[in-house]
Point group: C2
């Protein structure tokens, strides 16, 4: 059983993470966070000196969850082809929230990237985690020299599909385009490197 202070801290981070995704970082106030976390008003300052610190804690929280997920996938699937396709399945699995709120990583990077460069650097780490893992898969698939290029392209495809799905609130588009990406991975795995 974790100490009470640990649990309080966790409640704050999880509430902030939830709100930063659904309202955006800049529109989420301290009051919003403490209300959602169910902790008293000024309490939050014991754990976090500034709002920036809360953002950094939520990014660390997300990074931990992503790393766990990628480890699980690496252990659960034997081939890189299956692993990359598991990555693509994020899209239909999260279709509803992606349609409503966009991509949690993309929207945070976009919001902070405008004029909060220090926080953007934090947010970028989420992409870098996926990028490294995907590049490993593409290398194992036989594309060692172009592994990073293919990893970034895969991330870009996911971001583009998610953005249009969000703009139009159109999950049918998401399903259709994800299927197209899966076929692309299958062709790559078969050694067919045409687009």
């Amino acid at each position: 059983m974790p100490k009470k202070s640990e649990r309080t801290r966790s409640k704050i981070v999880e509430a902030a993470n939830h709100l930063f995704y659904r309202k955006g970082y800049n529109r989420t106030s301290f009051s919003d966070v403490v209300d959602a976390a169910g902790v008293p008003r000024g309490n939050i300052y014991y754990y976090f000196k500034t709002k920036d610190d809360i953002l950094k804690a939520t990014v660390a929280y997300r990074l931990g969850r992503i790393a766990n997920m990628l480890d699980t996938w690496s252990g659960s699937f034997r081939t890189p082809q299956e692993r990359i396709k598991r990555f693509l399945e994020i899209l239909p699995n999260s279709a509803t929230s992606l349609s409503r709120y966009g991509c949690p990583m993309g929207s945070l990077n976009m919001e902070l990237g405008k004029d909060q460069p220090e926080l953007k650097t934090e947010a970028r780490q989420m992409f870098e985690l996926f990028e490294g893992w995907l590049a490993d898969q593409f290398a194992e698939l036989g594309y060692a020299g172009r592994a990073r290029e293919l990893a970034l392209r895969t991330l870009a495809q996911g971001q583009g599909i998610t953005m249009i799905t969000h703009v139009y609130n159109d999950t049918a588009f998401l399903a259709r385009e994800t299927a197209r990406l899966e076929r692309w991975i299958d062709r790559l795995a078969a050694g067919d490197d045409s687009e």
Copy 2:
């Protein structure tokens, strides 16, 4: 020569448009806008009752500019293939600002899409304008039945490339992936409908 009030209004709208792109809508204050526009503090309320009204005016301003641009392109290029490729050229032409601030349309839709549905509806119109024009080009190219699908895919590709370019500040990625999109259009124009 437009009336002075017209010019004042224009200065406000153009300053707001500039700041909404570079700082985001929610982080841009009235003070920011009037300072940038060079008009006195309270003056802005003569032209716009609320901040929402300013956003609507900036979207209308952007829609006008986009419509002009598309009309020009429709008149300047004879084939739909050339027109679509002119659209893709937006990416390298605006590489620096896309890398710094992301896509003006995508970032606005993402920011407002979280929890400002009425404003998101405004912002979506920019995508719809491009979508309609692109669909016309794909129809003329011989893909009438799939024109909207191809238009949305083209927009999604552009959004994905821009997002990754912005996240990584990597304009080389943008150049490489745009070239890939151009080849895709050339293949489509040649009747090759494989990916």
